[in-house]
Amino acid sequence: MQAILRGGNRVLISRSTNVYTNLALERYLAENIKHEDKTRLLILWRNKPCVVIGRYQNPFAESDVSYLAENQIDLARRYSGGGTCYHDLGNLNMTILTTRNDYNRKKNLQWVVNTLNQAYDLNLHITDRDDVFLDKYKVTGSASRLERLYAYHHFTLLINADLKYLRRTLKSPDQSNIQSKATMSVRSSVLNLSDRNPKITYEKTLELLIKSFLQWNNESNMSNYDYIDPLLYEEQIKNFESELKSEKFLFQGTPPFVYVIKIGAQTIEITVDNGIITDIKGNDSISENKLCRGQLFHSVHNQIQQLKTNDLSV
């Protein structure tokens, strides 16, 4: 058990494809590893289909929450900032974990870009938002979390993900109804690396990045990488896992917002704080109205959607 927490330049590859487990594992490692100055830990992971929102985002503004539920696509809120992304097995997640002082997003991305450009003959470049683009298409999104003793920078890499699903899940029917100060995603057109070069696969990329990472960090031992089965650390990560799966964290962790529905001349305004409806204006004329203060917004979301489509004069 202790071996997994040693510091130094290392690579760990998660065997899990569950987004909550992987996010919990990432946080557990970040908080418990004995980080050493000037060393980096690379965690490689991927998830079965899911949507991941940033720490201070509104899931309803960023994705089609009903569609996700109907199609058993997990919805997760991560601990780092940034925007919303869709993950599936064709998307590789990378986390670079260091001491707080050694945190450097640009260096991390430079390493990835150089490695991929060289191996696959591509022309990737880094934007000032710390995204990686191929021509005008985004292939990587970054986010970070900085704590007292450690910092991590994690980013996605679209290798051969299902872009149809990506677009469908990230299309929010509520986006124009929500007014809030939550962090908004900055949307871009995306592309899979394999669309540009069909020889690029997940397995090849994994192998390539492991080798390149160890070389970058002057590790002579090329087999200094381990597969990690998070099930073996169930006890250690279960608290984080529970938090990540909880409705409280997912929905009630949303910054305050007002949900506005305009039907003809009528406007209904629903104020939501900590995921709970605290005020409703303009709904007196709705006969079939079941909304009231104190309800959890996410529990009545479907009814609210119906209000948008039903004829109010019934």
Binding site: G54, Y56, G81, G82, R129, R145, L146, R148, T183
Partner: protein
């Protein structure tokens, strides 16, 4: 009239507010160095009034340029007020880190008040600290 500021190694500042009341109250924020390192703050999560924290506990979390960072209590205290303006104008932290961009106010006890000057850095010491800790070389 406010008193001088003291600084932590994690770039928070603390300032004693004038004691007209029975209790000792302080104001806490982050330094100009910290706000520049963060970049534009887009969201600020503040604690509730009444919440109690120990020194080094996370009392607030900021999001800037896709990075979420915690702010740590310089000393033990109980939250007496939070800067409500930050809810709609989180970037006040960047524009005015020492004045309008303050984060919280807290009640502290006498022992903690003494701890401020004995365990934290004066503005001058903080400036020196920044000088000697400038980003070291490459790796």
């Amino acid at each position: 009239m406010c008193q001088e500021r003291y600084f932590t190694k994690k770039h928070e500042w603390i300032q004693l507010l004038d004691a007209n009341k029975k209790s000792i109250e302080v104001r806490v924020g982050i330094s100009d160095h910290a706000q520049r390192a963060l970049g534009d703050v887009v969201y600020c999560e503040l604690p509730s009034v009444g919440a109690k924290f120990k020194r080094d506990d996370t009392f607030a979390t900021l999001e800037s340029v896709k990075a979420v960072s915690d702010c740590y209590m310089p000393i033990d205290g109980e939250i007496s007020d939070v800067n409500e303006k930050l809810k709609s104008e989180a970037d006040l932290i960047n524009k005015s880190p020492y004045e309008n961009g303050w984060l919280i106010q807290a009640f502290i006890n006498d022992k903690e008040k003494k701890n401020i000057s004995s365990t934290l850095m004066t503005e001058k010491q903080y400036k020196q600290f920044l000088e000697t800790n400038k980003e070291a070389g490459d790796h």
